[in-house]
C-alpha cells in the first residue's frame, strides 16, 4: 500500500488560502451583492474570495503530488522583537511623545539579533533617536509632539 505523502509547505499554504478565502466569503455574506448590472459592495469581493478559495484547493491538491523542500526554521527571536517595535511606537507615540517612544521602539528592535550587546543597543537606540529628532522633528518639521502628556507629572 502506498502511503499518502504531503508536501507540508504547500499543504499549509493551500489551507491558508482556503482559510483566508473563507474568511472573506463569510464577511461578504453581510454585504449587499446587487446584480451584474448594478453591483453591490459584496459582488466583486465575493468573486475574488471564491477564486482565492478555489486556488487554495488547487495548491492543496498539488501538495499531495509534488514534494518540495521543507520550510526551514522560523526567525522566532526576530518575530518576538521586531514585530512589537512598531506596535509599541503606535501605542505610546501620543502618550509618551516622539522622543521616548522612538527610543524604546528602537531598543526593542535591537534585541532581535542574538549578537546585540545591551550597552551597544542603548547607544544605538540613543543615536537613532537623536538623529531622527534632528532630521524629522526639527529640520523637516513633522508635527510630532517631542515629549507627550505622560512625561509631564
Amino acid at each position: 500500500m502506498k502511503q499518502l505523502q504531503f508536501d507540508s509547505t504547500n499543504a499549509i499554504c493551500g489551507l491558508t488560502f482556503i482559510g483566508l478565502g473563507g474568511f472573506f466569503i463569510y464577511q461578504c455574506l453581510d454585504l449587499d451583492l446587487g446584480t451584474a448590472f448594478r453591483m453591490g459592495p459584496g459582488y466583486f469581493p465575493l468573486i475574488l474570495a471564491a477564486i482565492l478559495t478555489l486556488l487554495g484547493v488547487v495548491v492543496l491538491v498539488q501538495a499531495t503530488r509534488v514534494q518540495g523542500e521543507p520550510m526551514g526554521p522560523l526567525a522566532l527571536r526576530g518575530m518576538l522583537f521586531i514585530l512589537p517595535a512598531p506596535v509599541f511606537f503606535g501605542l505610546t507615540v501620543r502618550g509618551l511623545g516622539f522622543v521616548p517612544s522612538l527610543f524604546f521602539a528602537a531598543l526593542i528592535a535591537a534585541f532581535a539579533s542574538s549578537r546585540m550587546k545591551p550597552f551597544l543597543a542603548v547607544l544605538l537606540a540613543g543615536a537613532i533617536t537623536l538623529f531622527s529628532v534632528l532630521v524629522f522633528s526639527y529640520a523637516l518639521g513633522l508635527p510630532f509632539e517631542r515629549f507627550g502628556p505622560w512625561t509631564r507629572l
Binding site: 454585504l31 449587499d32 451584474a36 495548491v59 506596535v87 539579533s113 549578537r115 544605538l124 523637516l140 518639521g141
Partner: protein, 501 residues
C-alpha cells in the same frame, strides 16, 4: 518641434538648483540603500516618503525617482563586489560581474556596468519623452472597460514574472485585490472587511502594507540565519575599461537597451525580466558562450543596460495611464496622490512642468550616478562592512516614523506589524509578495472600473470584448496566461529562476 520645447521646459525645471539638489540627494540615498543588503527600493521609498511631504510636488517626485534608479545602480555594485545583489534585478550581474572581480577586474566591471546603464538610461529617457504624448492621446480614449482590461494585463504579467508556482502567484493577486478593497465602498458607503475598526474605514494604508510585506518580512528573513558577509576586496583599482572591453561591450549594451526598453513598458515589472532576457540573448549570440559565468564582459554590460532601460521605461504606464507597473511605481502613485496630483493621462497636459521635469531629471540622475559613483566606490565598499545587527534597528525606527507620518494614524503601525508577520509567513510558504502588492494597489481601481463598465453597458459583460482596445488587451492577458502555463515555457521559466538562486 514640440518634443524639443517640451524637453527644454523639462530641463529648465530639473536644472533649478533646488531640484538638482533633491535629485542628488535621491540618487545618493538610493545608491546607499541599494548597496546595503536587506532592504530594497520599495521599503526605502516607503520609509523616506515623509521627507518629501514638505517639498514641492516636482521636487519630491524627482527625489523619489532618484532613489529608485540609484538603488538599481547600488544593487549592481554589491552584486559585482560581494556576489550579493542588493536588488533582485541585479542578480544576473552577479554571475559574471563577481567572476570579473575575482580576476582582479572589479574596477572594469563596475565601470562597464555604469557606462552601460548610463547609455541605456539616456536612450530610454528619450523613448519615454517620445512615446509619452502619443500614448497619452490613446489613454484619453480609454473608457472604464479599457482601464479594467489594461489592469488585468498588468496583474497577469506580474504573475508571469513571479518566482515559483503560478497558482500561488494568482492566489496572491486575488488576496492583494481583496486587501485593497478593505475600507468604505465608494458607491454605497458600506464599510467592508474593516472588522468594525473605524480607523480602517479609509482602507489599509498602502505605505504600511508595503513596509510590512517588503521591509519587515525581509528583515525577519535575514535574521533567520545570521551570517557574516565576506568582502572580496577593500580596494578597487583600474577603473577604466580597456579598448578591448569597449569593443566587446558595444553590442550587448545596444541589445540590452532595446530589450530593456521594450520589456519595461509591460505592466508587471519588466526590469528583472529584462536583465534575464538580455543575459540569455547574449549567451546565445556570443562567439564563445563558454565564457559566460567566467567573467564575460557581455554578461555584465547587457543585463545592466537592460535593467536600467527597463527601470526607466516602467515610468511610461505610470505617467500616461496612471497605472503602476511595479511596487515602486505604486509608491510613486501614492506620493502623487499625497501631493494632490491624480496620476493619469491628464498629468501631461495639466502639469507639463511636473511631467517633463521628471523625465528630464531621469537623465540628469543617470549622469550624476556615473560621475559621482565611480569615485565614491571606496565609500560604498566601506559601508558594506557595517554589520547587519546595527542596520535593522535603524530601518525599524525609520519605518515606524515613515508609516506614522503619512496619516498620523497609529492603526497603520499595527497594520505594519500584522503585514510584516503575514508577509514573512507567505515568503516561508514560497509565495511572492510582489503580485500581492500590485493587486492591493489596483484592487479599488479594478473594482471601480468593472462596476462602471457594467453600468454603462447595462449589465452586459460582452462590452469587454466588443470594444476593440479592451478586446485586444484581454486577448493579450489571455495569451500571457496561456504561455506561462505551457509545459515547455513552464520548464524554461523554472530554469531561469533557478539560475538566480
Amino acid at each position: 518641434m514640440d518634443l524639443v520645447s517640451n524637453l527644454a521646459l523639462g530641463f529648465s525645471t530639473a536644472l533649478s538648483p533646488e531640484n538638482l539638489a533633491f535629485c542628488l540627494i535621491g540618487v545618493l540615498l538610493g545608491t546607499l540603500i541599494g548597496v546595503l543588503p536587506g532592504i530594497g527600493a520599495t521599503a526605502t521609498i516607503a520609509m523616506l516618503l515623509p521627507i518629501t511631504f514638505k517639498l514641492e510636488p516636482v521636487s519630491s517626485l524627482i527625489m523619489l525617482a532618484g532613489i529608485y534608479y540609484g538603488a538599481q545602480y547600488g544593487g549592481s555594485t554589491t552584486a559585482i563586489l560581494i556576489n550579493m545583489p542588493g536588488e533582485s534585478s541585479s542578480a544576473v550581474t552577479a554571475i559574471d560581474g563577481y567572476q570579473m572581480a575575482r580576476k582582479g577586474r572589479a574596477g572594469a566591471a563596475l565601470s562597464i556596468a555604469a557606462l552601460g546603464s548610463f547609455f541605456a538610461g539616456t536612450v530610454s529617457t528619450f523613448l519615454v519623452a517620445i512615446f509619452a504624448i502619443p500614448l497619452t492621446a490613446i489613454a484619453l480614449e480609454f473608457g472604464a472597460a479599457e482601464y479594467f482590461s489594461l489592469m488585468v494585463v498588468g496583474l497577469v504579467s506580474s504573475i508571469a514574472l513571479a518566482h515559483g508556482s503560478i497558482v500561488k502567484a494568482l492566489a496572491m493577486v486575488a488576496l492583494g485585490l481583496l486587501l485593497g478593497l478593505v475600507g468604505t465602498d465608494i458607491y454605497t458607503g458600506t464599510p467592508r472587511f474593516t472588522l468594525g475598526i473605524r480607523e480602517y474605514a479609509d482602507g489599509l494604508n498602502f505605505v504600511a502594507v508595503a513596509v510590512g510585506v517588503f521591509g519587515i518580512a525581509e528583515i525577519l528573513r535575514n535574521l533567520e540565519g545570521e551570517k557574516t558577509r565576506s568582502l572580496l576586496m577593500a580596494k578597487v583599482s583600474g577603473l577604466w575599461p580597456t579598448k578591448d572591453d569597449f569593443r566587446r561591450m558595444m553590442g550587448p549594451v545596444l541589445r540590452g537597451t532595446a530589450i530593456g526598453s521594450a520589456l519595461g513598458i509591460l505592466p508587471g515589472g519588466g526590469a528583472i525580466l529584462a536583465a534575464f532576457a538580455s543575459y540569455t540573448v547574449e549567451k546565445r549570440v556570443s562567439d564563445n558562450p563558454r565564457e559566460f559565468g567566467q567573467g564575460a564582459v557581455a554578461g555584465v554590460a547587457g543585463p545592466e543596460s537592460a535593467n536600467n532601460a527597463g527601470a526607466q521605461t516602467s515610468f511610461i504606464p505610470l505617467l500616461t495611464l496612471g497605472i503602476p507597473a511595479n511596487p515602486v511605481m505604486a509608491l510613486m502613485v501614492g506620493a502623487m496622490i499625497i501631493q494632490g496630483i491624480v496620476p493619469g493621462p491628464n498629468v501631461a497636459t495639466e502639469q507639463p512642468t511636473l511631467f517633463w521635469g521628471i523625465i528630464a531629471s531621469m537623465w540628469i540622475g543617470n549622469l550624476m550616478l556615473v560621475v559621482l559613483n565611480l569615485p565614491l566606490i571606496g565609500l560604498w565598499v566601506k559601508l558594506l562592512t557595517v554589520p547587519y545587527y546595527v542596520l535593522f534597528p535603524i530601518i525599524m525606527a525609520f519605518c515606524s516614523i515613515g508609516v506614522y507620518s503619512v496619516n498620523s494614524n497609529v492603526y497603520d503601525l499595527y497594520a505594519v506589524a500584522l503585514f510584516g508577520l503575514g508577509g514573512y509567513l507567505l515568503v516561508k510558504l514560497r509565495c511572492e509578495p510582489a503580485p500581492l502588492l500590485l493587486g492591493f494597489v489596483l484592487g479599488p481601481l479594478l473594482e471601480e472600473n468593472l462596476r462602471r463598465a457594467m453600468i454603462l453597458s447595462r449589465g452586459d459583460p460582452s462590452t469587454f470584448i466588443t470594444r476593440p482596445i479592451s478586446a485586444f488587451l484581454l486577448a493579450l492577458a489571455l495569451a500571457v496566461l496561456i504561455i506561462v502555463f505551457l509545459p515547455s515555457v513552464k520548464k524554461k521559466r523554472e530554469e531561469v529562476f533557478q539560475e538566480e538562486d
